[in-house]
Amino acid sequence: MLKYFIKRIAYAIATVWIISTLTFFLMNLVPGGPFLSEKAPSPAILKAMEEKYGLDKPLIVQYKNYLSNVAKLDFGYSIKRKGRLITEIIKEKFPVSAKVGGIAIITAVVCGIPLGALAALKRGKWLDKTIMVIATTGISIPAFVVATSLMVYFGVKLKILPTFGLKTPLHYILPVFSLALYPMAYISRLMRSSLLDVIGQDYIRTAKAKGLSGFIVLFKHALRNALIPVITYLGPLTAGILTGSFVIEKIFTIPGLGGEFINSITGRDYPMVMGVTIFYASLIVIMNLVVDILYVIADPRIKLK
């Protein structure tokens, strides 16, 4: 058990290191520095700026400095937002994204599981077919299509829901729904097939033969095992919600980290891009780690290697 956790943690660190290295070298490959965008500054100022941000040193030295700073959780200063620490920006913007994303994850799980279970229990009936049609459509519509269509219909045409910012709870409805639709549809499909799989197993027949009520068979025997594939999906789900937030925050002008990330990419704010990438990557890697551990707790049959 301990060996397994150590191995997983080693992997997690290796992953984050690979991502930071890749990010660093790719960002340096891009021609056109961050100071070239608007008015071209004079060569002297340019040189001073490069010196200030350490961009004049050889690449390998920059890389070394960078890695040691990352290990200290210090991503340096943002170039576009002068004088602001990247850690500070993340601290300020991430809670906004996390709130919207967290609500979306909960919505997806809370709605997706019962829908999938219902479809499996009513297999072949119209209810199953309706849910599956909706779910299949749900995994075929990109988030930006959902978001823009909802915005046009509810925000512009009917004018019943606000379309930008996050001032009141009403503001959360559209972004959360647009973020949650895809994972919700995915979870209900996953849940349906895994429950169907479990219901066909021998131990369910045994439980029924013992005379247990349908309710106990479902909740005590079937659902517990059927949830395992859904748990494994929680890691990718977090990643999906995080990346989905790039688009959703852009569309609904939410002042979160996702929108900030996209802006820093187009603005070539290298330290910011690297900082946010490593932050997000670590978040996803940690989520995957947590899911792996949950997985073992939920299903004792899984042997740790």
Binding site: L22, S140, P142, V145, S149, L242, V247, I262, T266, A281
Partner: protein, 353 residues
């Protein structure tokens, strides 16, 4: 009957009836054949597929979309990057003043089926080109993934042992890398270097027509997405490897390469087809996502994602400009998803998730 055989038979004797031992004639032989024509794996799968109305309907939609995207621009009289002065922001089927004058003068002017955009470019052709970009991305990316993933998985599963362990550790690490983040960073990082590379290389002119960012997308897809395929193929290979016919081939002295080529890969083919078909919509999904964020294909080449993204600003005045590309993406992804599901049910029921 017995009268033409002329054998007298004592009713009480044990003498055998000669009739019973006559050679059977053709009709009798036919009657005894109880075997139906043997059904191969392919015939069986195809029959299941043809019986599935949803899969067939989506296959037809896919063919129609392909015609629309690849044949459409050839027939259609407008060009996707040609800006017609004076024809900006036309509604569907509307003509500009200059075009009306031309019609008055007896010339034939092809109507703008979906109007024009703010730069006077015909919108229908831009959607056709966008659909083309999406399809190319989906097909090429899943082709690349198929080749890399199948080879890697087959080698890893077949040789096992140390090689398998190292190869699977690599897969695990790549698997845990958040894909979209890396795709965004790679496509941003590779865009300029690729542009420089292609401009300096006239031999690659035809590839560079696709645009450096599209090639960046292919590179990133092929770097990251093959791991899922490799895992599935490895699992298949591990089971096939233990089958008797592989042992027999080994005993007969067949080389590893021959066994992989002749025995293992053909037996994985059902899975390969299913997984790569389902890979197409996810590649299209990712491409439209990137283009929507403005880091996909580069202007003037349109993509369904970038068309939708451009339309968001003018949503109140020109909602059609958002809905047309959005609908197009949904139809493409949905039909590939449904067709892939149908293929899976027909060829590889075990894979059902």
């Amino acid at each position: 009957m017995s009268d033409n055989l002329n054998i007298k038979k004592n009713p009480l004797s044990f003498q055998l009836n000669v009739e019973d031992f006559l050679p059977a004639d053709e009709a009798e032989k036919q009657e005894l054949v109880i075997m139906r024509e043997s059904v191969t794996f392919w015939k069986d799968g195809l029959r299941n597929l043809f019986r599935n109305p949803i899969a067939m309907a989506s296959a037809i939609v896919i063919v129609l979309v392909m015609l629309f995207a690849f044949l459409g621009p050839v027939i259609y009289p407008y060009d996707y990057h040609y800006q017609i002065r004076g024809s900006e922001n036309l509604a569907p089927m509307e003509y500009s003043e200059a075009e009306l004058a031309a019609i008055e003068a007896g010339e034939e002017v092809f109507p703008h089926l979906l109007g024009t955009d703010s730069l006077g470019r015909d919108y229908m052709i831009r959607i056709m080109m966008g659909a083309r970009v999406s399809l190319i991305v989906g097909l090429v990316a899943s082709g690349i993934i198929l080749v890399i993933g199948a080879l890697y998985g087959a080698i890893s599963g077949f040789f096992g042992g140390m090689a398998d362990m190292i190869m699977m550790r690599i897969v695990e690490i790549i698997y845990s890398i958040p894909d979209i983040l890396i795709i965004i960073i790679l496509s941003v990082g590779l865009k300029e270097p690729l542009k420089v590379y292609f401009e300096g290389n006239p031999m690659l002119k035809s590839i560079s027509m696709l645009g450096p960012s599209l090639i960046g997308i292919f590179i990133t897809f092929s770097l990251l997405y093959w791991v899922g395929m490799a895992r599935i193929v490895r699992g298949q290979v591990l089971t096939i490897k233990e089958q008797e016919y592989v042992t027999a081939a080994k005993a007969l002295g067949a080389s590893s390469a021959r066994i992989i080529r002749k025995h293992i890969l053909p037996n994985c083919i059902g899975t390969l087809i299913v997984v790569s078909t389902l890979q197409i919509p996810s590649a299209i999904f990712t491409e439209s996502f990137l283009s929507f964020l403005g880091i996909g294909v580069s202007a003037p080449m349109p993509s369904l994602g970038s068309l939708a993204s451009d339309a968001v600003g003018g949503i109140q005045s020109y909602p059609l400009r958002l809905f047309a590309p959005a609908l197009c993406i949904c139809v493409i992804i949905l039909s590939f998803n449904l067709f892939g599901d149908g293929l899976r049910d027909a060829f590889d029921p075990k894979l059902k998730k």
